[in-house]
């Protein structure tokens, strides 16, 4: 079990990661208040930032980077399936409601 674990990062590393997360959050909030300046780029930037935070937490805090590929495939598989299905539903509803 734990013998064949790949070495997990040190506490110092975790704190650094948390600082990065905090900074990204700060940027998100800043973007919210500067929507008038940033304009149409606000929403895409917000989504990119959220995805970035998501990946960091999953990869480092949940140790997905250090886990077996199998688990990785599972999680990303579920993710992709959900994204495709729900994208179709959203587009279908949007087009049916406004056509």
């Amino acid at each position: 079990m734990s013998e064949n674990h790949i070495e997990h990062p040190s506490p110092k590393k975790y704190v650094q990661i948390a600082i990065v997360l905090g900074v990204l959050t700060a940027i998100e909030i800043a973007l919210y208040y500067t929507e008038d300046i940033v304009g149409v780029f606000t929403d895409p930037l917000l989504i990119i930032l959220a995805v970035g935070k998501f990946v960091i937490v999953v990869g480092w805090f949940m140790h997905l980077r250090f886990e077996n590929k199998l688990i990785n495939r599972f999680f990303t598989g579920g993710m992709i399936l959900a994204l495709i299905l729900f994208a179709i539903v959203m587009f279908e509803r949007a087009s049916a409601n406004f056509l």
């Binding site: 199998l70 579920g78 399936l81 959900a82 299905l85 179709i88 539903v89 279908e92 509803r93 087009s95 049916a96 409601n97 056509l99």
Partner: protein, 652 residues
């Protein structure tokens, strides 16, 4: 022989259950075989109830303008028939097969999480009981502009909005009373049960395979279990949330699916069929798996195109997620979506066709033994092809809008779910009967069962095709005399009773053979997969020592070699091998560690119906009782020592 070492310290709420026979041993069991058997009996009980509901429907429709049932009662009956057959009969019967066979087929001692397995079974039982308690507690008032309250009666007090629960029809306005709440929350509970078993089976298949059991050596039934578990794991969460919304709409004044509050009834259809279409494959894929085991065994040939069947199964599962809106062609969805989903529906016929050809290729040139399991499998292929072909006709959107809501559709899905799934299930019930009970079933009665069921089935659902094309509308309690639909409706009703007769034959065979049947050898069919290398009935510990698998159809290759021309020839050593296996199977030479029985699964599961009633009656005390049961069950579960009380078999 079997000895239980008592736990040294009791730090838990209850003493650990220790009885090995009697009712408590069944209630606390975590043995996958016992759970499988209980699943089977419970599901068959619900199959009988669902069948009775179908007969009641058919009596009503046997003549024009009949008044055997009121409209309200008819609504309740067809809703409960559909809901029961799908969620309480076919799904759990498949679960019975999964439970019993999966560990045996991959050479494991039990599933990955035995207690979770028991939990999932008890949640299913409580969910079913909760749903059916609607006949005691439920009320279905008179909807605005609908039938009168006095027409509802006892039979009509069940859920009446259809198994698909379309909104806003299933909302408070058109389905007043509590009946549809029982439906929504009952399905929610049943969903939890299936979801838990899906996690369990996925993990089991990935991680509990015995040595040498690579993925591409697994029996097809195991593969189909794998595919079904994925479908369950990824589709049930969607319906769970949708049912939450329904419950909120009905009980707490939200308007998720009600246009008057800005909601979207078509969204319900999307969410429902996002689950509902994978559900169709959840029902049929286990039968595919069973048939893929039975056909090679009774054709005495390897399965034709093993890899193709496996990949086709996963192809079906994957594409099955992308065809849901073909149930909604008559709803307000956009033309682009109609075209897209029409296409994907045609595409899914391809992997299904691949499977059919594989099965035909398996039979081709084989030395067929027409025992009852084989008959049912052959019947399955025939009936499923008919149902599959009428299914493809639905992918043509203009044709589909003509057929929607007629008996043509009813004929179609009964050909796939009865002629397909149920025939496959009966095939499996006969095939593994000797393994489970150690007795042989009666072959003559089995064949009578098959032929009466085949005839009854076709009399029932064949004429529905033309009734539908002539315009008989489904979910409608009467038809007028002038429509000239009476003749075929009589035929259909007669057919339904012939099916009932065949089920009685089946039950007689089962009860009689289980008691007085001939003793079964442990490999009665000269089979191919490793569950037949152990004694019948299966010993508690399954395999005396972990089997080592060297190839696909391992057991067959142990018994048969090839001559110079590549034909299978039985090895001289085969009989001796069988004898050795039996000897070894009954007398394990090493200590065996089995999972321990537990009270907590049933305690935990019993909390859920209380929470359900609490929502229906806005009752805080019931909610507290339910939560307490969950907490006690959860706490006991978490603190139950796993490493103590190891059951050992001491061999002397």
């Amino acid at each position: 022989m079997t000895k239980i070492i008592e736990p040294k310290k009791q730090s838990n709420i209850f003493r650990r259950p220790s009885s090995e026979t009697g009712i408590w041993s069944w209630i606390t069991t975590v043995d996958h075989k016992r759970i499988g058997i209980m699943y089977g009996y419970a599901a068959f009980f619900f199959l009988l109830i669902g069948g009775l509901e179908a007969l009641v429907l058919r009596i009503q429709l046997s003549q024009p303008d009949n008044n055997f049932l009121t409209a309200a009662e008819y609504n309740a009956m067809f809703t409960m028939h559909g809901t029961t057959m799908i969620f309480l009969a076919i799904m759990p019967i498949s679960a019975a097969f999964f439970n019993y066979l999966l560990p045996l087929q991959i050479g494991a001692r039990d599933v990955a999480f035995p207690r979770l397995n028991a939990l999932s079974f008890w949640i299913f039982i409580f969910g079913g009981a909760f749903l059916y308690s609607t006949f005691i507690f439920g009320t279905a008032g008179a909807p605005e502009g609908g039938y009168l309250a006095e027409e509802v009666g006892w039979l009509g007090s069940a859920p009446n909005g259809g198994w698909f629960g379309y909104q806003p029809n299933a909302g408070m306005k058109y389905s007043p009373g509590t009946a549809m709440d029982f439906w929504a929350i009952g399905l929610q509970i049943l969903g939890i049960a299936s979801l838990i078993s899906a996690f369990n089976f996925i993990t089991t298949i990935i991680n509990m395979r015995t040595e040498g059991m690579r993925f591409m050596r697994m029996p097809v039934f195991t593969w189909m279990t794998f595919a079904v578990s994925f479908l369950l794991a990824f589709s049930l969460p969607i319906i769970a949330i949708a049912l939450f919304y329904v419950t909120f709409d009905r009980k707490f004044g939200t308007t998720f699916f009600l246009t008057e509050g800005g909601g979207d009834p078509v969204l319900w259809q999307h969410l429902f069929w996002l689950f509902g279409h994978p559900e169709v494959y959840i029902l049929i894929l286990p039968a595919f798996g069973i048939v893929s085991e039975v056909l090679p065994t009774f054709s005495r040939k390897p399965l034709f195109g093993y890899a193709a069947i496996v990949f086709a199964g996963f192809g079906i599962a994957f594409i099955g997620f992308g065809v849901w809106a073909h149930h909604m062609f008559a709803s307000a969805i956009s033309p682009v979506a109609q075209a897209g989903f029409g296409l994907s529906t045609m595409v899914i016929a391809v992997p299904t066709g691949v499977k059919i050809f594989n099965w035909l290729g398996t039979i081709w040139g084989g030395k067929l033994k027409l025992n009852t399991p084989m008959l049912f499998s052959l019947g399955f292929i025939g009936m499923f092809v008919i149902g599959g072909l009428s299914g493809v006709t639905h992918s043509v959107v203009p044709a589909d809008t003509q057929q929607t809501d007629t008996y043509y559709v009813v004929a179609h899905f009964h050909y796939v779910l009865f002629g397909g799934a149920l025939f496959g299930i009966f095939s499996g019930l006969y095939y593994w009967f000797p393994k489970v009970w150690g007795k042989m079933y009666n072959e003559t009665l089995g064949k009578i069962h098959f032929w009466t069921m085949l005839i009854g089935f076709n009399l029932t659902f064949g004429p529905m095709h033309w009734l539908g094309l002539q315009g008989q509308v489904r979910r409608t309690w009467v038809y007028a005399e002038e429509t000239n639909l009476a003749f075929w409706n009589v035929v259909v009703t007669v057919g339904a009773f012939i099916i009932a007769l065949s089920i009685i034959v089946f039950m007689i065979n089962w009860i009689f053979s289980k008691r007085n049947g001939e003793k079964a050898p442990f490999d009665p069919w000269d089979a191919r997969t490793i569950e037949w290398t152990i004694p019948s009935p299966t010993p508690v510990w399954n395999f005396s020592k972990a089997p080592v698998v060297k190839s696909l159809d391992d057991f067959w290759h142990a018994k048969y070699g090839e001559d110079d021309e590549g034909r299978s020839v039985r090895r001289d050593s085969a009989d001796q091998l069988l004898q050795e296996l039996e000897e070894e199977g009954l007398n394990p030479s090493e200590d065996i560690e089995l999972p321990n029985p537990s009270y907590y699964p049933i305690i935990l599961a019993s909390g859920l119906p209380f929470l359900g009633y609490a929502v229906i009656y806005y009752s805080v005390p019931l909610a507290i009782v339910g939560t307490l049961l969950l907490l006690i069950g959860g706490f006991g579960w978490g603190t139950e020592p796993l490493e103590e009380a190891i059951e050992e078999l001491e061999h002397e």
